[in-house]
Symmetry: C2
Subunit: 291 residues, 2 copies
Amino acid sequence: MSSGATPVDTAVVACCQLAPTLNDPAANRELTATAVSSAAAMDADIVVLPELVSSGYCFADRAEAAASAEATDGATISLWSRLAAEHRIVIVGGFCEIGSGGEVFNSVALIDPGGLRSVYRKAHLWDAEVHVFTAGDSPPAVVPTRFGRIATLICYDLEFPEWVRIVALDGAQLLCAPVNWPAYPRPNGERPAEVVRVQANAAVNRMFIAACDRVGQERGVEWVGGSVIVDADGWPLAGGAASTEPVTLIAECRLADALNKAISANNDVHADRRPELYGRVAEPSNTAATG
Amino acid sequence: MSSGATPVDTAVVACCQLAPTLNDPAANRELTATAVSSAAAMDADIVVLPELVSSGYCFADRAEAAASAEATDGATISLWSRLAAEHRIVIVGGFCEIGSGGEVFNSVALIDPGGLRSVYRKAHLWDAEVHVFTAGDSPPAVVPTRFGRIATLICYDLEFPEWVRIVALDGAQLLCAPVNWPAYPRPNGERPAEVVRVQANAAVNRMFIAACDRVGQERGVEWVGGSVIVDADGWPLAGGAASTEPVTLIAECRLADALNKAISANNDVHADRRPELYGRVAEPSNTAATG
């Protein structure tokens, strides 16, 4: 565990790839408490937990999700806040959130020793989530912490480079992304496609990314189990292969690297953007081929 | 070679990874003529050539580049136009362009049997290119062809997902990208980083990408030789490993796949974008870490 009041150059990042139990928040709290304490014992400074680890994922409908949902002052966030304070760490975890109007959100909390720092609600919903969750409509937060600026996004959000760019331009040195990547076939010898996209997102922004996946089965659904921590060049420091087992990945991340966007004597991945040209985005076209 | 006046579902795409000679456009025309005819004999419908294949890359300065530059009615484009007509194919190649005001551009031409269809000038310049070339400031063209809609970008342009998104939203089924990827160290067993980013660009847009790299040495510089053709899921159909040898990659591409952006019962990689949120892009921040 790092200490001191000034920003540190290096942080130990952990991803706890777990198998939560659907509709059993109490059991899942136990699971995360054990995992976080174990990661802290391995000197982790920042611990990332999977998407919806408080509740499981495969809800039949919104009502079922609501029964496992918690407010931001509920038992799960309270537990994680106690753990963050006890171990002097940052915890980023996905949870099933109940809104003040009864809406259900697929959310991620960032908690440090001072308590809850941000809640981000997934803005890009995957498949049947559209029948369960209300999509978030706020930009993702980038939180200054003792270890540097940390952003949070959730799973399918990562497939939208525009969305990732927003947190990178806001100075995120580390993007922590709870995910539940569904398992699909892929060519032999290939890394999971989601990992490839994480690598690209990191490299084009010179930003570290820690994506924490889950394992286990729910109602016939399986996941990739492809948790990965990549550096600012997009190379995996830990994980990145498919797995069916719970595991804690650990990587020492020189987060100060992400403050330097230069990639040649004359290039800087952010300064080289030409936003004055990007505004002219065409609408999707189905123009027939000719010629 | 496909035939018929209606759009076709499948096209054979070739990347001719070559070793052009610096400052010798006549020799490079010979080289490309041989390569294009050879690819056509392998039933290629669309042939992609490297960045600046007309001239080589490592110019000392703008004056040297200008001496090898050609207008869009010059000998190189004229040759490629004859070849495209003779073989009834599309040719996409990088060339050193002289502008009407004497500017030098790093450009790509798209030519079909009817002649020159588009010229795009690289908008994101790499390293010493800033001392040689004038950056383009026009959006990339997407050209309807007999084989579907084809877009062109050049090398470092691919590192800007916003720029790639523009052609994808304009209906590009295949993005042809002449590149000169400079060789850098990478971890053992890893695919070249540029290939990883091509894969991601393809997958998040469900668009084929053919990136044609070069080999050879110029003034001490070497290239990755990582030409690759990826499908609409981002998986390599041909190439993708580093190489020092000239090679012609060939892949049959079901370009009709790129017309379907659905990736689940409820998801579409383009319709799921939330541009109303993306407008709020923050400016780069160097806020010090606190907390």
